[in-house]
Structure formats: C-alpha cells, structure tokens
C-alpha cells in the first residue's frame, strides 16, 4: 500500500484524529492550566491568557477541552471495543452454528433494536447506579446489536465459501473456523464499521452527558461541558459551542477515515486487499 493512494479527505481525517488523540494522551503536559482550577472570571471571552475563554465557573476552557478529550475518547473507545467483542463474537457464532442459537440471538436482537437506543438506555440508567462501569456496559451492550447484525451477515457469507468447507472437512473445530477462517476475511469490513460505531459512541456518550446522565462532574467530558455552559448561550456567550464543535470535528474526522476504509474494502472485492 502506498501513501500517495490515500485520498486527501482521508489525510485530513487521519491528521485531525491524531491531534485529538495526542491531546488526550498528553493532556497533563499540554494543557495550560489544571482542569479543575478557577483561574479567571466567569465566561471570559477568548484572549491570549485563555485561548478559548473560560467556562461557567471561571475554569480555562482549553484545558478542560484537552482533559475532556481524554475522558470522551477513552470511554467511547472502551465501549466500542466491548460492543465489538460481544457483537462480533455472538454474530460469528450465530453464523457458524446456525439453528436455534441463531434464531434465538437474532430474534432477541430484533427485539432490542425495536426500541430506540437512547430511550432504552434512559430506561435502564434510571435504576442503575451512575458510574463509569455501568455507563460503558449499557453503551457497549446496546450497540452490540448493530455489530451483531453486521458480523452475522458477513459471517454467513464467508461460511459457505470453499476454504471454510475445506477446513470443516479437515475436521477443524468451530473456534478455529471462526478465528482462523472467517474472522481474518471479515476484518476489513469490521474495521471500517469500527470507525462508524466509534463515532456513534462519541455522539451517544455526549448526548447522555449533555442530558446529565453520562459522565458525572467533576470529571470533564465534552457533552458534560456543553451542559455546564449552555446557560450562557441566551446571553450570547458561545462557550457551550466550543466542546460541541470539538465533538463534531472528531466525528467528522473519524468518519472520513472510515469512509476511505469502506471504499477501499469495497474496491478490493470482498475486502481481502492488503492492509
């Protein structure tokens, strides 16, 4: 694979996603102030001292944004990983084993998907304790339904190919079939889907935090920062728009990368191109 084959839109995506990841990883070193210190007046405008201004409690907005990147990216990534492990495993299992396991899992997923994700998350969060682990579990499990459908569909396709038949005749067990025969061939589809699910998780987490049901203060995440600063909007103070813009930028950049991966795997017939 050559660098010049990567389209400009994908480069933009890769570049700006890297900026976000860099900010998240090195937050304590690059943030100008501590995220919890009130270092100025309430809702100061942008200045050299505070590049993005200050928030509703006089904390530096840029510093909170940088630390918030950490929370938002980490939680969204863990939840996406969880949803992929659960969804891809069960999807592949349903595709390979078939029969009543497939029926049971598929009908249950149909049922779960007939309730809007956000609504069901709200129902469940109303009784669960508000902590990070429940949040990640709820996000991951609800989203696993989408991954399940995709990986089952891909799995069923690959399961009838000759090399899988050959492996079955050779007497390989199901674990081998799934991990050595099907999974490698489903990988490029799953990878680009990973990008899309990650974007969905970022938006989902931000929506929950914005509604006050996601990450709890004093932790900073982008959705929560929008909530903290939203009262300023009616006075013409744009502080809430800055974290909202960051969410949008992150989502667009990851989408650009996922788009490119998706087109690439579509080009190479069945997604078996060199990675």
């Amino acid at each position: 694979m050559k660098f010049k084959d990567i389209p400009i839109s994908a480069w933009i995506g890769i570049l700006s996603t890297s900026v976000f990841v860099f900010a998240a990883v090195f937050a304590p070193w690059i943030a100008p102030y501590d995220m919890a210190d009130p270092v100025g007046q309430v809702w100061e405008p942008m200045s050299w001292k505070h590049l993005l201004g200050t928030d509703n409690l006089g904390r530096d907005l840029l510093s909170r944004l940088i630390f918030g990147a950490r929370t938002t990216l980490t939680i969204a990534a863990i939840a996406t990983l969880l949803s992929f492990f659960v969804g891809a495993f069960l999807g592949m299992l349903a595709a390979v084993v078939g029969g009543w396991i497939d029926q049971l899992l598929s009908r249950f997923v149909d049922l779960l998907m007939s309730i809007p994700t956000l609504i069901f998350a709200l129902v469940v969060l109303s009784v669960l304790p508000s902590n990070l682990i429940t949040l990640i579990l709820v996000m991951g499990v609800l989203d696993a339904t989408r991954v399940y459908r995709l990986s089952r569909a891909v799995g069923v396709d690959i399961n009838v190919m000759e090399f899988v038949e050959a492996a079955k005749l050779r007497g390989e067990n199901r674990v081998w079939i799934i991990t050595r025969e099907i999974l490698p061939n489903a990988m490029s589809t799953l990878v680009s889907e990973f990008g899309l699910r990650f974007v969905f998780m970022v938006l989902f987490l931000s929506a929950l935090s914005f509604l006050g049901l996601g990450i709890q203060p004093p932790q900073a995440d982008w959705g929560g920062m929008v909530k903290e600063n939203k009262d300023g909007i009616v006075f013409g103070i744009p502080a809430a728009l800055i974290p909202a813009f960051a969410i949008a930028m992150l989502a667009i950049s990851v989408n650009l990368i996922a788009d490119w991966l998706l087109n690439r795997s579509a080009d190479t017939k069945g997604g078996r191109g060199e990675l």
Partner: protein, 318 residues
Amino acid sequence: MSGALKLIAQRIALGLLLLLLVSILIFSGTQILPGDVAQSILGQSATPENLANLRAELGLEKPAYIRYFEWLAGLMRGDLGTALTSGVPISEAIAVRLENTLFLGAFAAAVSVPLAITLGLVSVRFRNRWPDKMISASTLASISLPEFFIGYLLILFFGVKLGWFPSVATVYEGMSFADRINTTVLPALTLTLVVLAHMMRMTRAAILNVMQSAYIETAELKGLGSFKIIWRHALPNAIAPIVNVVMLNMAYLIVGVVVVEVIFVYPGMGQYLVDHVSKRDVPVVQACGLIFAAIFIGLNLLADVISILSNPRLRHPK
C-alpha cells in the same frame, strides 16, 4: 386487494406482538439490578423506614411477573400509574406533553420530508455535478453533528444575535397557532437539519436504482424531459424504499426530540423522561419509554403498510 389486506393484517398482528414483547423488555429493564430497586432509588443513605415505604409503594413485596401484569392491565385502561416524586397520575402529566412532542415532530416532518424528497430529485437530475456533490458532502457533516451543536448554533444566531425567534421554546395552553409555530421554529429547524441529509441521500439512492431500469431508457428514447422522467416514471416506482427511509427518519426524530427538547427547554415528553430518569422515578420512565417505543414501532409498521399498498403487484393480484 385481498392479498394485500392479508399481508397488512399480518404486519399489524406482528406489530402488536412486538409491542407486547417490548413492554416486557422495558419492564424487566428496570428490574435487572441484582439488588433492590428501592435501595438504588434512594441510595446508600436511606433509612429502613423510607426503604420499607418505597417498597410498599412500588409493590415490591409481590413477585415481578405479577407486578408486570398489574402494570400491563393498568396500561390497557390508560392508567399509567402515579409518579413517585410528585404523586400526580402519570397519564394526566403526559397527555399535554405528548401533544407538544407530536406537534414538534409533525412540524419538523412537514418541513423535512418534502424538502428532502425535492432535493433528492434535484440531486438525481444533476447527478455527479455540483448540486449532487454538495448534497453528498452535507450528509457527512450532518451525521457527525450532534443535535446540541446545531441547536445552540441556531439559538445563538437566530435567537440571540438576530432576535428573529425566541431562544427558549415555551409553549402553553391557549397559545395561538401562529405563536406556537413561531416559538417552535428553531427546535423544528434543528430536527429538520438532523434528518434532512440522510433522507435526501437515501431518496437519491432509491431513485437512481430505478433509473437503471429498461422503461426509463424507453422514456428517455421517447424524448421526455429529464425532470418528467424522474417525476412520472422513476418516483412512483421508488415510493416503497423512500417511504421506508422517511419512516426511519421519523423514528429518528422521535429520539432526536429528547435532546432537542432539553436544548430548547420545550415542555414535551422527552424532557419529562430525562427529568425523571435523574430523579429515578421508575414508573414515569417506564411509561415514557413504552410510549416512545410504541411510536417507533407504529411508524415502522406504517412504513410496511404503505410500501405494501404502493406495490401494484400486491394491490392487483392475478
């Protein structure tokens, strides 16, 4: 017609069954804690008396399936129970709010659906030229923008800077229709922008799919104008997929409405639900959750029925 009627009856029966299963899922969704709902509602600092009171109020001494059937029986009579936090019957509190939410949803739908279909047609007419490219690019932006970004941006510009519309969408009973429209312009616009691009894009895809058929080529060879071909020959045959996309987006509106209502402090179901999730008022959350799910299922059902009816092969069986 009988074939189509039979199919529709089947879909409706399936929809009702689905709704029943969803009600079980929503009910059990609030029972999944290994411990006790009362404990998790009141927190660690609750006194034993408070716990006992709440358990009695929730009927927790009875087994879960009996509570489920009691809840279901209440639902059938239109009795959604009483809110724990205020003691007010939920049905009364919800009636007005449901109306407000449906009004907002209908307003957004009335703007976004015709607009999306028209723009989809334009995009097919000018495919691979600049109007089409712009529409493609805006899709990417629109699936990435969170509702609150669009919402607050609109408030900041149209509400605060220009002062054209109120930034907080307060509606009350006895408000004139014109006032109500004026107040809900910004939330409806936000919802429209959230669903517009996806609907446009899918309309374009559905029509392009039909455009490859032989009868379109015939129409072209007859010398019909391109808009006429799209309007008279392609669109009627693309109705079923378009209706599906429209309904999918209407269902998305119902979810988007939750966040949008909170942004604009609009007194609808979504805000009611969110408020009571943080107060851990389980009966209200169950009732709202079920109503949202029912609307969602109902819209999907409607999409199925319309696509059956729009299919001439099913309407006029041999």
